[in-house]
Amino acid sequence: MASLKNIKIKIQSYRKTGTVTHAMEAVSAVKMRKTQERALAGRAYAAAALSVLEHLSRSLDTSHHPLMVRNLGFVNPNFGFTKPKFRTCLIIVTSDKGLAGSLNSSVIRRAEHEIAARNLGPEQTIMIAIGRRGAEHFANRGYDVRIRRENVSDDLSESDLRTITDELLSWHAVGEIDTCLVIYTNFISTFEQEALAHQVIPVTPEAVRETVAGIRPARGRYAPRSEAPVPPLAIYLVEPSVDQVLAELLPRLINIMVFHAFIESKASEHSARRVAMKSATDKAKDMVKSYTRHFNKARQAAITREVSEITSGMEAMR
């Protein structure tokens, strides 16, 4: 039987671990509430912005805008027609730290699934990694992690993300990439998160519809108000011109999609960590309990042994 001291040390270490995970749980719970609120509030805007584009794309000929079609050929003004060799940009949104269950691994798995499905290699992809986990994973495997953001604050604003999306748009503008996907964790509930991939560029009505459908929660305050009938096509007046409106609207939309992915991931991260820490705390409590019982048994055994030694010694002396 393990010595009493060893058991005592074990109990103490489990108790300490439990304290730490309990503290982390409490911290995550606060962050979770804040980020969930933000994610849910942001959904209304994202849905509105995307529905504007959806309306527009149904009634206007938007198919010629470069951000809405796949790059086919690209005429470089300096070099004439160049054979296109477009790459695909993947925006991977993960957390900086682990201890959040399967959150990051499912995002990475999803990303690798997309890479495999599109037959892409490290040469055909550009990565934008928000969060250290994703950045390290793909950098270690030889991918071109062009932009790397770590320690991003929870209350990053939409305009802060502009620097990233502007860069993204500039790669598109020079014909380096033709597709951009964002891979993130969609927040469904505190106990349920799902890794998703959405196409950001080209902005197609189908992709937009998919995103809108994905960001509307099934129930609750932000659930879609009773399935609205699809309004008949409106003939839009567009001021100043279709191109100018799209030039204003599309970068905004792309930024919103990325931003949306970011805040959803943050809400998911804190929820997942909270749940993971809760189960770690519970487990630690269980372990303390079972080792305490073990300890008590061992102590009782030691006492019994001592008593029997004493009594047998007394018997012998008689």
Partner: protein, 84 residues
């Protein structure tokens, strides 16, 4: 004759916050091509907005103003969305 509602549904939203969401009688916005006022049953319209102030008149004669830097207005089916 069909009775049209005297208001339209107006949403003014930025990512962090919904500034206005509800029925409005009129909204004057700084369009990039000049100021315009949206009344109920405005024709379908999409326009970019420039820096200025949105003035909204609601039932009961109350007025709300929102300063903006830029934005996009979409208007169709008796509802208007302003994205900031």
């Amino acid at each position: 004759m069909q009775n049209y509602p005297p208001t339209f549904n107006l949403v003014i939203a930025s990512v962090s916050k919904t500034h206005f969401d509800g029925p409005a009688l009129a909204a004057t916005v700084p369009g990039s091509e000049g100021e315009l006022t949206i009344l109920p049953h405005h024709a379908a319209l999409v326009t970019t907005l420039k820096k200025g102030t949105i003035a909204v008149r609601v039932m009961g004669g109350e007025r709300h103003t929102f300063p903006i830097d830029n934005g996009v207005l979409e208007c169709s089916h008796n509802s208007a969305i302003v994205l900031l």
